[in-house]
């Protein structure tokens, strides 16, 4: 067996050029402000129609949280031309699938159909945008369904509340301090009028992007889009509030007891800048450097060599206004959370004081190249990226160019950004613990 010729191969890799297929697309606005992006790919008879609305949990009134996610449910209840209970049936009986998801920044609805049902997909999303039915029976039903969703995802699931607990401490003023599921109490107390107003304000063409991707004929598609979406009235201009957090200057220590766990976890969370900020991309690379793959620094040290951790993970959650970089670990055997914390700190200290090696830098570049090629592997994935890049980054072309940003990041920047954000006095230290044993 040959031994790996890493140093020899290195120069070769530096010269290599990415040959991933470029994603072509066309974009324009309708008169009512709806932004449209078309991506044609006739390789398979499949089409995705999707709408992203620029509304998420951060647009909610602090006294009425959970609305955006609630609408993700409510807007399947029916429209003037689609009866209650028919939505899923129409999709399924035409051979399609559909779903929706909500983040703190945006809500995304989509259908995937065999391409001869393109018009159906366009019609359904236009119905949802034009005249959804928001009534008592729908609100009452979905309010209970959402309670079950919360129980399932948060209250009955081991480690289900780590994100919620971390964000409560990372954000004091910004709406990122609550989760998309929101408060069940707020939802229960909301009136039908509250929901109607929320709909009228945010679910309008001038706050949305429509993406049609896959096996389409662009001219015919444009005509259908004009027919179905053109008549939808423009909504009022949306005024958005801005929220500026005070910097964290001394360590915030927090603790949470989860009745569903036996093994504790340590979570260290840093508040990071908006996802469009170059530093956010640098933090992606730092996150990969520390914990992605078996040769990554934290995995190798804590899990592999010293066998102190069952698992090490890092999460660089970039969002529109701020992000959160969270690194955490679960101990093996007798290892204490303090011990894990100081081990993690040791590795973080290193990136702040020394440049990462040339070889590790090249490894990062190779990983991001691989990720980039894989990110455009399905039509549904491409549709989602186009919508996100347009709406949240204001740059649709990132679908082809984002890799250039990672390529341009230097080792020096990795050190600088680590120094700027990854300081112990700027973070939340969350001890996520089993429920204390009760005398019994």
């Amino acid at each position: 067996m040959k031994t790996p010729l890493i140093s020899g191969l290195l120069t070769l890799f530096l010269l290599s050029v990415i040959s991933a297929q470029e994603v072509t697309y066309e974009e324009y606005d309708l008169d009512n402000g709806l932004h449209v992006i078309l991506h044609q790919d006739n390789n398979a008879p499949v089409v995705t129609t999707s709408v992203m609305y620029h509304v998420g949990a951060k647009d909610e009134n602090p006294e009425k949280t959970g609305f955006a996610h609630f609408f993700e449910h409510l807007l399947f209840e029916g429209t003037q031309n689609i009866e209650r209970g028919e939505w899923f049936k129409i999709v399924s009986s035409n051979g399609g699938r559909n779903n929706a998801n909500t983040t703190q920044d945006r809500t995304y609805y989509y259908e995937v159909f065999p391409s001869n049902n393109l018009e159906l997909g366009l019609w359904m999303e236009s119905e949802r945008m034009m005249h959804p039915i928001i009534n008592k029976i729908g609100v009452d039903t979905q309010s209970e369904v959402v309670q079950e969703e919360r129980r399932m995802r948060y209250d009955n699931s081991p480690y289900g509340r780590w994100r919620e607990q971390m964000f409560i401490h990372l954000f004091k003023k910004h709406p990122y301090r609550w989760q998309t599921i929101g408060s069940l109490e707020h939802l229960a107390n909301a009136s039908l009028e509250d929901f109607k107003l929320f709909n009228k304000k945010y679910y309008v063409p001038n706050n949305a992007v429509l993406v049609v991707a896959g096996d389409i004929d662009r001219e015919k598609t444009k005509k259908m889009i004009e027919d179905y979406y053109g008549p939808i009235p423009k909504g009022e201009e949306i005024q958005r509030q801005t929220f500026v957090e005070d910097p964290i200057t001394s360590t915030i220590k927090a603790e949470y007891h989860d009745p569903n766990i036996q093994i504790p976890a340590i979570l260290l969370g840093y508040r990071t800048p908006a996802q469009t900020n170059r530093d956010a991309y640098v933090l992606d690379m730092i996150s990969t450097y520390l914990s992605d793959g078996k040769s990554s620094k934290l995995y190798k040290k804590l899990v592999d060599d010293e066998k102190k951790a069952l698992q090490v993970f890092a999460f660089n959650g970039s969002q529109e206004d701020y992000g959160a970089y969270v690194v955490g670990a679960l101990p093996v055997g007798e290892t204490s959370l303090e011990d894990l914390k100081s081990e993690i700190d040791g590795e973080i200290e290193k990136i702040k004081t020394e440049l990462i090696s040339e070889k590790d830098y090249q490894k990062l570049q190779n990983k991001f190249e691989n990720q980039f090629v894989n990110s455009n592997s399905s039509i549904t994935g491409i549709a989602n990226s186009l919508a996100r890049n347009y709406m949240l980054y204001d740059d649709t072309s990132l679908i082809n160019n984002e890799i250039d940003i990672y390529r341009s990041i230097t080792r020096e920047e990795i050190m600088e950004v680590s120094k700027k954000y990854l300081n112990t006095n700027q973070r939340v230290e969350l001890n996520y613990l089993p429920e204390e044993a009760t005398a019994n």
């Binding site: 499949v46 129409i90 190249e369």
Partner: protein
């Protein structure tokens, strides 16, 4: 590449040539798309390894999958030996130390992972030959060491602890154990004691017995050239020694004798897991396979199905309720219908799920339901064409499930021919309303009282009690 072009008529062909749209009507579909089903290139090596290659040059990447289709294995008092084997594979090879191996795989931006009888790798096409070599070397010449063994053992013991209070994990374990019995490969489970019983020698023996080429398939998909693949396979898989896995008998599991509730008390639960289950003898090659999956689709196969519409959209008991029907050529599989519901409605959920099963067994489905369910499968078939792995999967199924060569070419035609009567017969055969097990995992102090009052079709349903490890136990008093 050998290509087969088939044009299939998917439904009504309709042209909508109106100038004005009428948004009060559902748009009609355009002409059915043409379906092209190609076949992977394949050949077999002398050691028994079968190789399937799907060339697809859309993106510069390749995936490599090694699957070993052995019959299920009983691990007995050493349950966990297969998990440990999986964990110890891919840790380098006899000639490449673990750290160098991990470093190189990561350096190439690639992934290599192992199961106890499988392996997977993915990389950009420019690094494919080297990743192929690394994967083959670590699969055929694994590096089993005492040090790694002890470490992985600790990790498994700790992760068993992480799920001790996990309601879903408990529900899963108990429902399989009760369906199959704990001495069946599908019913046994890993415990701290059984993991402690495993030695490194056991892992090595497991590997030598089962990681053999007789039933192995190597599937390569992506930006490759067939001749190049052939060369690499010859070079790196020829040393894999020809061998057949040992075979042994295991008990044939049987269904409950009458419908019953099997209750597991988990005091920290805020939702109950309700799983209604029975065993089914169903194989893909069976005549009534499509009728059976259509029956399941109508009952609980998605957001348009009866269980979801009843338990979520009508009653709002749950975030979702679904059913599934498995198929297996080696042993019985299961039919299950399940939901996670708030404590208060646990008993009503049991009744509603049983009602839905009873209904589909006793009353024919409607024409519309059948038409819609078929349309969903037609859609799935079309949507799957986007993924290059589909044609590999079809070829593998034909080979491993003993299906006729034209199985997928005639798939839509056969799907279309299924009648309401076929669906009802399949429901009667595979959904055993008179002998289902209803496994409820939840907080006894809040749900048990009502659960013990559940009656169905005029009969009281007896409740039996089990602990978190599926052992019969006494009722707890609250």
């Amino acid at each position: 590449m050998k290509r087969l072009f088939i044009t299939l008529v998917l439904g009504l062909i309709a042209f909508n040539v109106q100038a004005q749209i009428d948004r009060s009507k559902i748009p009609t579909p355009g002409p059915a798309p043409e379906i092209n089903l190609s076949e992977p290139l394949h050949y077999e090596m002398n050691n028994g390894l079968k190789v399937l290659v799907v060339e697809n040059h859309k993106l510069p990447r390749v995936s490599i999958q090694l699957l070993i289709d052995n019959p299920p294995v009983i691990e007995g008092d050493k349950a966990g030996v297969s998990s440990l084997t999986a964990a110890l594979l891919g840790q380098g090879s006899k000639s490449i130390p673990k750290d160098d191996f991990n470093e190189e795989v990561d350096f190439l931006g690639a992934r290599i992972s192992f199961g106890s009888q499988s392996a997977f790798a993915g990389s950009l096409s420019k690094y494919f030959p080297r990743i192929f070599e690394l994967m083959a070397d670590s699969a055929i010449n694994p590096n089993f060491t005492e040090e790694e063994f002890e470490k992985e053992k600790q990790k498994i013991l700790t992760s068993l602890k992480t799920e001790e209070k996990d309601v879903s994990a408990i529900s899963n374990r108990v429902s399989n154990a009760l369906a199959y019995g704990t001495s069946h490969p599908y019913g046994e489970f890993v415990t701290a004691e059984s993991v402690q019983n495993v030695t490194l020698q056991d892992v090595i023996r497991f590997y030598e017995d089962y990681f053999v080429p007789a039933n192995a398939y190597l599937v390569i998909i992506g930006d490759v050239d067939f001749e190049q693949v052939k060369g690499l396979v010859e070079e790196y898989f020829t040393p894999w020694t020809k061998a057949v896995p040992p075979s042994f008998q295991f008990s044939k599991p049987s269904n409950a004798q009458y419908t019953q509730i099997n209750f597991v008390d988990v005091p920290n639960a805020v939702q109950s897991e309700v799983v209604v289950e029975n065993l089914v003898d169903l194989k893909m090659k069976d005549e009534d396979y499509l009728a059976a999956i259509l029956a399941n689709k109508i009952l609980g196969g998605g957001a348009q199905a009866r269980l979801f519409l009843n338990l979520r959209e009508d009653k709002a008991y749950t975030y979702g309720s679904y059913s599934s029907i498995g198929n297996d050529k080696y042993a019985p599989s299961t039919f299950t219908a399940s939901a996670q519901v708030r404590n208060m409605v646990t008993d009503s959920t049991v009744v509603e799920i049983l009602k839905e099963i009873d209904k589909i067994v006793k009353t024919p489905v409607t024409d519309e339901e059948l038409k819609d369910a078929k349309a969903k499968y037609v859609g799935n078939f079309v949507l799957a064409l986007e993924r290059p792995e589909t044609i590999a999967r079809y070829a593998l199924n034909i080979e491993t499930e003993g299906l006729p060569k034209d199985y997928y070419k005639t798939y839509l035609e056969r799907l279309n021919a299924v009648t309401k009567e076929d669906v009802q017969k399949a429901a009667q055969k595979y959904m055993n309303i008179d002998s289902v097990r209803v496994v409820v995992t939840g907080k006894g102090s809040e749900v048990l009282e009502n659960l013990e009052k559940v009656t169905f079709n005029g009969k009281k349903i007896p409740v039996k009690f089990y602990d978190k490890f599926a052992k019969a136990t006494e009722k707890t008093s609250y």
